[in-house]
Amino acid sequence: MNLKPREYRFSLDGFTPQNIPMARLAEYMQQFAALLGHRSSVHFSRLDDGSAVLVSEVEAQDDPKVRERAQKTRKHIGPRDAQDAVVISDDMLRRDNSVGLVIEPDGATVIEFPGRLKKQFEMIGPISEPGTLDGVPIAIGGQNDPVPVHLEDLDGTVHFCEAKREVARGLSKYLFDDPIRAVGTGRWVCDTNGIWSMKSFRIHDFAVLKEGSLDEVIGRLREAHKKSDWATMDDPLRELETIRNG
């Protein structure tokens, strides 16, 4: 059965089909495509009037996947490339003195882009902050001391770190293999969107991580908890309140 394609709309307030520069339109289309993903099933349909409204058609069989991707991205748990597309689009809209919306086929707004309305933050940093970073070492090497170390986290993001040779030698045993928790100092900056990002991380020490699922770990903690003092109390939440407020 041939189902009708589903339309997703990206409304660009302040632009019309007549005044939007073609090159800028192409940039918005590129980000819209990145947001929706599933490139072989997502097609450009047309540019509607009013505000400039980019309309894309999604082949019906892939619509549930596209919808899930967009909704997860709204909750900031979408794929990295989709979340990047939202940040880039919003920054473009701000520079264009505009705001935007992505609208689902049923008319619900799935993502709002505050664009020009977004509060601008002062850039801060870089500042140093002790912390931890989890990931699998995927590259260790170089002639200098400290040596560059690349850690790939669960999301596939690669963090560019460095470590003294002695620490790097220890990390090399886990190259491409075990996830580790690096303990060290990060260098952070805050951009004009108020988003903090880590620019570098000096690894001072590390521990090899166990990869039990959340359910497994909570199951073990529940067993251990039976031996805690909390487990002997009639009302542990009241006790917690007493610890906090006396």
């Binding site: 997860k72 900031h76 748990i77 979408g78 794929p79 990295r80 979340q83 902050e129 002790p130 912390g131 931890t132 989890d134 669960l154 999301d155 596939g156 996830p179 928790r181 521990a207 090899v208 991580l209 166990k210 990869e211 039990g212 699922s213 959340l214 359910d215 770990v217 909570i218 073990r220 903690l221 529940r222 251990a224 908890h225 039976k226 031996k227 805690s228 003092d229 909390w230 487990a231 002997t232 109390m233 009302d235 542990p236 939440l237 009241r238 006790e239 917690l240 610890i243 906090r244």
Partner: protein
Amino acid sequence: MAGSRKVGFDAGILILILQDGVGAPVHPETKQPITRPKDRVDYLQECLSDEKSKVLIPTPALSEFLVNAGSALEKYVDDISNEASFVVVAF
């Protein structure tokens, strides 16, 4: 690949998730006990597990929780510190 969500737990959530029959926390605005607390934390755990989320525990929350760890202290610290699904973070 989906991004892994990071969710902070305070000591109250830890107690609710690890111990049955502890009663209900009071809603800070209504001052009324929260209904069905066990169902809520079970659903929370299910969602976090499905999403392969990481649980962040700020150091002040961990300190509160460990006050009454008793003989479970070592096991708590070992699991929370060395498992990829838990991260202790500075506050």
